[in-house]
Structure formats: structure tokens, C-alpha cells
Amino acid sequence: MADILVYSEQLSTAKELTYKAKEFAGALGLGASAAVLGPDASAKAPDLAAVGADKIYVSEDPALAELAIDVVADALAQIAKEADATYVLLGSTRLGKELAGRLAQKLDAGAATDVNAVEVADGVLVAAHYSFGGATVARETIDTPVKVLAVMPKTFEIDAPSAGAGEVVTPSLSLSPSPVKLVGRKEKEGESVNLEGAVNLVCIGRGFGTKEDIELANQLCAALNAELGCTKSLCDWEWLPEARLVGLSGAKTKPSLYVSVGISGQVQHTVGVGTSKIIACINKDEKALMFGASDYGIVGDLYEVLPVLTEKLKAL
């Protein structure tokens, strides 16, 4: 039987994709299988069985030790053939996007990346992703025999998993070591940031006049117990690290409350906050696009609004 094959180097993403692949597989009359690659791959197999994988292709081939993209693509192309995969679902992480192009080329497949919704229609999967820098959402089908979809992490929620058969298969792979070698790995300087998991999020933009003024936003974050994010300009000016970038080229967040301060509201930013439960914005320009993307807005100078807001929140 033809299969939907799932792979992501992130176990949490692989689980979400496998869970959903089982649902799609049921609707399309396909099987749901998953691949786990690299050191400790076999330890992850039971987790994927638990969320619905019927077959799990496991390889700890030494050529996969560093998960170099060309070797991973080679391994997955061979597994996709063995599994007779018609769809390959990848996580649209940085590595996953890179892999999508390389693997699709090997399989002579069409591909879609940064997919943020998938639905079954007329016996095929329809993938949605942003277009025109986030201004629109393109929905497309891929018409090649094998189709590669790289899906954003956290697109699917695992609510009621049912285990699959979980048969572990050791594929016979023919792999060569990559000419690309990992020579070093160091932690990024500065504190670690988890914008994707933030319950409350405050983002700041070009409305801030100097780097020192960010302290006003830090105080609001403390009062709201929120993480601080920003638009691309502030990263370009090196006021804040790239880890705090929210939007098309940064984090895609899902906070319960999102407060936008001094942000014009270009789609390149708002695509990163579109699924917030409630959006509030503060901007002195009443014509700012951000008001149209918000539930509640205050028209005012952030230098006047933030101290008042912070004080009143602290007094709650």
C-alpha cells in the first residue's frame, strides 16, 4: 500500500505530523509511516508508534551522524521509494525547508514549504502557505506523483492519539558521507528566548526612538509576565537579537494576548502573530495598518501610554 511518509529532526514536530498523517491516510486510503534518522533514532520509534505510525523506518547509519542535508535527503529518497510514498510530510523548520527542496529534486517532486494548513479535498491534500510576503494565503495542490509538504511546527494539535501498528523497519540504505562537515557548535550569546511558547507577548517596532527606550517595553513585559519580541528593523539595527524576531523570517507565535507597540503592521510582521487569541495595539498614527489587525487599539504616543499602562497593570 502506498504511504504518507513523515520525517522531522524535531521529535515533537514528527509526532504532530504523524498524528495528522494517520488521519489523512485514512481519508485517502493510504498507510501512515515515519522515518527516524541519526544517532539514537531507534529510541524515538515508540513515540511515533504511539501517535499512529504503522511503519517506522529507522536508520542510525554512520553517514547520518551529523544529519547533513544531502545525506538525509538521500536516505529519505530511498525510504520514500521503499515505502512507495505518495506524500512526504516534513517539518518546516530551517533544516526541514532546506531538506524539502533537496529531497523534492531527488524525487522529481513538486513541493510546498512553510505550509500552515492542510486539508483533504477531492482525494488529494491541499496545502496553504503565505504568499506576497504574507499579504495573501496561497492554497495549492501538487500534481507530481510524489509530493513533498514541509509543514510549520505546531500546525496540528495532537488531541486523541491512537497507536499505529508501529512495525520497525530497518531500510537497506546506500549512503556516502557528506562533503559538508560540522566543525563547531556554540551556544548563542544572550539569554534563550521562547517566543513560540509565550502565553503573553509584547512586540515592539520602529516607534521606539532609541535602544535605551526598550526598557519601557521590558517593564510592560514584567507587569504582563510577557515575552518581548520585535520587528525586523530592530534586529537589523542590532537593538535586539534575532531570537526575538517575530514574523515571516522569525518566530510564528500563538499567544493568548499579544500587545503591539509602535509597530506599523506590515504583513511581514503580522503573519507571526495572526493566530493570537486577542491582539491589542498602541500606535500614535491612527492610520497604522496595525489597527486593522487588532481587536483593541490605543491611539497615542507609546512614551506616554506605556508608563500609564504598566502602572495600572501592576496595581491590578
Binding site: A112, R139, P179, V267
Partner: protein
């Protein structure tokens, strides 16, 4: 070191307006992609560092009527020459098709050490073309570079991966894709813009690359491409700052996203 930089000229996405959820593209100007300028800048810096180098820009015309003007910006930044693949059939290409065109062009130009792409284009941002070209040319590839230096086996590349910065090294020739954090692209002076007009530009059609319309035609079907429906409340408060803040806090408490 000869460096080829495939660049895209795409519609200025900030100028795309939405009418009845449809993007209005009429009259929207094309420009050299923002990230493509980072790729060019990275190539120019590396070329200057290594010396005795050449930087070659390549672009596929995807509907830009002023492609020669737009590509001139790449030459004004410092690219030594440009190749433009201008063929109506390219308008119907998808990422796989564009990658085929670029891979053939790179082969035809020949004598290169490095191909530097942006991590994605400013409009579609799919990130497929660089890795697809690497695969077709059978080259090693390193994605998401924030730093490229000549050294080791060929080049060493730093890339940001979550909380870590990884350094990877590869032999040449190779493909590298870059992120915006790698540099601040130079601004062109008027003098450079004038000089750019005299730099060599070569036009190719698909036939020049032994390709045809069928080979590059899209194999995806676009069902719709619409702006998302805005389901936000769009309440804008009135009154003094103090009053507006009070109203906001009340509203957030009622929404259940703030505890009283």
C-alpha cells in the same frame, strides 16, 4: 574565486494592495529582492577578501518588464556581469522549473567556485530553489549562513540553528544560502549606477539552455490566493491616554486574557 549569485526581481510586496481579498498587482513595481541583496553583498565581501575574484549575477525574468533596470542595481552594487534568462515560458515555471533554469545557466557559465542564494525570495519565501539547484548540480550545500569565510576545505559557514550557532565546512564548488543577518547590503552611489550600464549583460532564452516550456512548467495547481479574512474586532478607544488604558484593561479582563 568566482561566485555566481542567482537573484530574483519580484514585485515590491509592500506595495501590493488588497481589494476584495484579491491582491492587486497592476502597476506594482518590481525590485531586486531584499534578501538577494544580502546574497550579493556576501559574495562581494568574500570576493574582496579572497582577491582575484569575479561576482556574476543571474536572474530569471518572472514578469518584470524593466528587468534590465532592476538587474542594473546588482551591477551597481558591484557584480561584474549579469545573465538574464528572458523567456515567456519562464512565467509559467514553479520553483522546480526556476531551479532547472538556474542550474543550466550556472553550468553554462561554468568556471565557478561558489553559488550564493538568498535563503528565500521576498515574495514567495519557499526556500526551495537553492537546495534544488545544489541537488541538480550534485553540489554540497549549506543553508542559512550568517557568516561565510574562505578557509578549511573551501569555505566555512556559520549558521544559526535555534539557540546554537553551528560552523560547517565544505569543499568547493558549493552552494550557500544566506539570511539577512549576514550583512547590511551596500547602498549604490550615483557613480556606480552610471558605471553599471557599461558592464556586460547577456540575455539567454530557454533554448540557449537546452530547455523547453514543458520542462519548466509548474506542476502545482494554485486553487486560490486570497488575503485572509480579518476576524478582529478593530475597536479603537477614545478619550485621554488614562481613559483609553482603563478601557483596554477592562476589555482584556472581559476577554479572559488578563486577570483582575
Amino acid at each position: 574565486m568566482n561566485i555566481i549569485v542567482p537573484v530574483k526581481t519580484n514585485v515590491d510586496t509592500e506595495m501590493v494592495r488588497i481589494k476584495n481579498r484579491e491582491p492587486v498587482l497592476e502597476g506594482v513595481p518590481y525590485k531586486l529582492g531584499d534578501l538577494d541583496k544580502n546574497a550579493l553583498e556576501a559574495a562581494l565581501q568574500l570576493a574582496a577578501e579572497v582577491g582575484d575574484s569575479k561576482v556574476i549575477a543571474v536572474t530569471v525574468n518572472e514578469g518584470n518588464r524593466k528587468i534590465k533596470d532592476t538587474i542594473k542595481e546588482a551591477l551597481a552594487m558591484g557584480a561584474d556581469e549579469a545573465y538574464i534568462i528572458d523567456d515567456p515560458a519562464a512565467l509559467a515555471a514553479d520553483q522546480a522549473g526556476i531551479a532547472k533554469i538556474i542550474a543550466k545557466a550556472v553550468e553554462k557559465i561554468g568556471d565557478y567556485d561558489l553559488v550564493i542564494f538568498a535563503e528565500g525570495s521576498t515574495d514567495k519565501y519557499s526556500g526551495q530553489v537553492g537546495p534544488r539547484v545544489a541537488e541538480q548540480l550534485g553540489l554540497p550545500e549549506i543553508g542559512y549562513a550568517r557568516k561565510i569565510v574562505a578557509g578549511g576545505a573551501g569555505v566555512q559557514v556559520d549558521r544559526g540553528m535555534g539557540d546554537f550557532i553551528e560552523t560547517w565546512e565544505t569543499t568547493l564548488p558549493a552552494v550557500v544560502t544566506v539570511t539577512s543577518e549576514i550583512n547590511e547590503p551596500r547602498v549604490c552611489t550615483l557613480m556606480n549606477i552610471m558605471k553599471a550600464g557599461k558592464k556586460p549583460q547577456t540575455d539567454w532564452t530557454l533554448a540557449d539552455l537546452d530547455l523547453d516550456a514543458d520542462t519548466v512548467a509548474s506542476r502545482n495547481t494554485l486553487i486560490s490566493n486570497l488575503a485572509e479574512e480579518q476576524a478582529r474586532k478593530n475597536v479603537v478607544f477614545e478619550g485621554t491616554i488614562e481613559e483609553q488604558v482603563d478601557k483596554l484593561i477592562d476589555a482584556l479582563i472581559k476577554e479572559g486574557v488578563l486577570e483582575a
